[in-house]
Symmetry: C2
Subunit: 432 residues, 2 copies
Amino acid sequence: MSALSSQPYKGTRDYYPEDKRVQNYIFATWRSVAEQFGYEEYGAPTLEPLDIYTAKSGQELAGEQTYTFTDRGGRIVAIRPEMTPSISRMVAARRQELPYPARLYSIANFMRYERPQRGREREFWQFNVDMFGVDSIAAEAEILSMSDAVLKAFGAKDEDFVIKINNRKLINFMMAQYLGLDAVSAQLMVKLFDRKDKISPDDFNDQARGILADDIDEGIEKINVLLSAKSMADLPVEIRNSSSVVEVQELFTLLERAGVKSAVFDITLMRGLDYYTGTVFEVFDTRPENTRALFGGGRYDGLVGLFGAEPISAVGMAPGGTAIENFLEVHKLVPELISNTDIYIVVMGDASRSAAKLARDLRARGVNVELDITDRKLDKQIKTAVKKKIPYMLFIGDNEVQSEIYTIKNTVSTDEQKLDIDGVAQLIKNGR
Amino acid sequence: MSALSSQPYKGTRDYYPEDKRVQNYIFATWRSVAEQFGYEEYGAPTLEPLDIYTAKSGQELAGEQTYTFTDRGGRIVAIRPEMTPSISRMVAARRQELPYPARLYSIANFMRYERPQRGREREFWQFNVDMFGVDSIAAEAEILSMSDAVLKAFGAKDEDFVIKINNRKLINFMMAQYLGLDAVSAQLMVKLFDRKDKISPDDFNDQARGILADDIDEGIEKINVLLSAKSMADLPVEIRNSSSVVEVQELFTLLERAGVKSAVFDITLMRGLDYYTGTVFEVFDTRPENTRALFGGGRYDGLVGLFGAEPISAVGMAPGGTAIENFLEVHKLVPELISNTDIYIVVMGDASRSAAKLARDLRARGVNVELDITDRKLDKQIKTAVKKKIPYMLFIGDNEVQSEIYTIKNTVSTDEQKLDIDGVAQLIKNGR
């Protein structure tokens, strides 16, 4: 038999301890922000019936990008490509029992067929934060404050990112009233706006002409007014006077009070998924290395109702692990991370039995101890401790067994101290 | 369109916050034991090529039980049914670079087609702990000490569980030398022993007769000697004198020194998977409610070599979340778990703007705060805090905004205090 490949499946990643430390740092930071705001963690299955995505996620995500197959019972299932339909399903199932507002978060993995490239992997991790049961714009203000808080928690500054905000009701008004498009053409135009940064201005105009049925030149002119608007004041008066502008203005008032400085209004921001019904937003890195949105979110009031429950309003966001990791790298915000192991016990001579006892006694005092059980030469044992980035080495041989005083050495500074077991435990606790 | 079902996919589970708290408690306990022993966390992909399981996992697991499908690129993939082949693949891929002994752990989800029943779900979580690069029995002693430590960390006592230990080399000797079976018959006999608690003694004897080619009566008699052996001393002398008994004896010596009191030798323990090469073990609940093994493990020295790397010795174990949860329930070891949110801010009158500021200021002091943003009546806000099991409620209205002294109430005892913001933050910190 020929050897099996040792490579991971296409577009997925093996997390060795040094990679996992970075991921754990990202997860811990997400978790701390969610919990600061009083959100509680939930979990959902990896597999879902495919139809929960086809209903409302948008064609690309539910169709081409989803890992789907038929199970042995003939059910058509999908490996979840996103969390929003799952949490909406869960809320629908306990519509009556849940306490509202329900503030919920999860940290979970997802799969999509993607051409593997920087910032995109076929399997990726996301932090999903959702609030259910609040109609008012205060919900959006909280979720957007959390978007800001997440990046700040990683050490980002206001100027490192921009939060672009728009509103689906305003977009609908713009498409139907201002541009005079019917429902089908409006949807095509939304998708075109959504792609505008990925195609040339000429391509954009050509495709826009194809969507505009009549008054094509006037339509293109109107679109260009939208594209060149730098703020709400630049918008045509009929849009500025539309009722949904009030929502946008109220949101910006709340964000200003909350100290969110990176939020801007952007009439051209669409946000691809079909389920959004009000505010939509995307967060962008201001550095040119990361051009794609870091993450986004918005209001999706219709999704819970698809599961046969009374509709319930919902607002959420979903930062992804890979995009955050790239952001941290570009901004040099990845902290120096070391092992969670405190001490590597290096065993000399015949001390292995006493060393095992010392390891047990240190663990009982709350110290994380890796014990060398290999009977190797000293230099090899030390090399292992250094390679594992364990902060301290403790040496035990016949003398130490007798005196019960151990030499403990800082792996980086090589400073040495001679301490008894309680002194060792205290040294570790003081360093935490 | 008819409504979508709000139920999770067959055999999988939705974890609402109260369920997720229990799961997080289990995960945190696993993690703390792994880190006490100096193990480092890794992560692996959800999908793997199917062939890494067909090579060595055993027919049932690689075949009937695996979620497998063909991806859009024509690759035959599987949702991982276990972690051992993945971590062996990862170690093979970095055979040269990794520091040894490599002590690695993960907490991850897996899928198998199972008939859903108590203790078995189609999607389940496992704690995988593996040591690579140590040939000596000291590796087994450490992994078995950790098995013991895991259950103790949950509050279990020595008498709550038993660790049954056997050795594949001894099993092979027993099958080939003692029973005189050829390789194919030996494997069939191993599978039969593995099922012995699930079938009647008569069925067992009938099937054993079918496997024994000649000297059937003598074979059955020899098997019955094995089945009735209570300790190593009861074994036939030719087995007791076989070289692999030395390994078993050495292991028991080390376990005794390590204070592991629940370990027993069991010549009939087989452990289903094909990749084990030496020590095998399974941990059982001593209470009759849980008859299946809680978890198991063993030595599997051949797996890394399948990936084209030099072979490397390995010992591991894999406790599962559902089995542990059942164990904790039966032994009444599930602790009372409350929300990670410290304070629910109840807003009275027009204080919402000041309440939002107070929430921000408390968060900046490290307090986890959920803010009511609903403008609901007082009793409804209080009901939400109680239902969410948040330990404290803080009341803010016009008076509090003026005085900057807040009423903070213990949700359970209903004790009240009047404190300024620093007093509130101190109260929460003292309670942790």
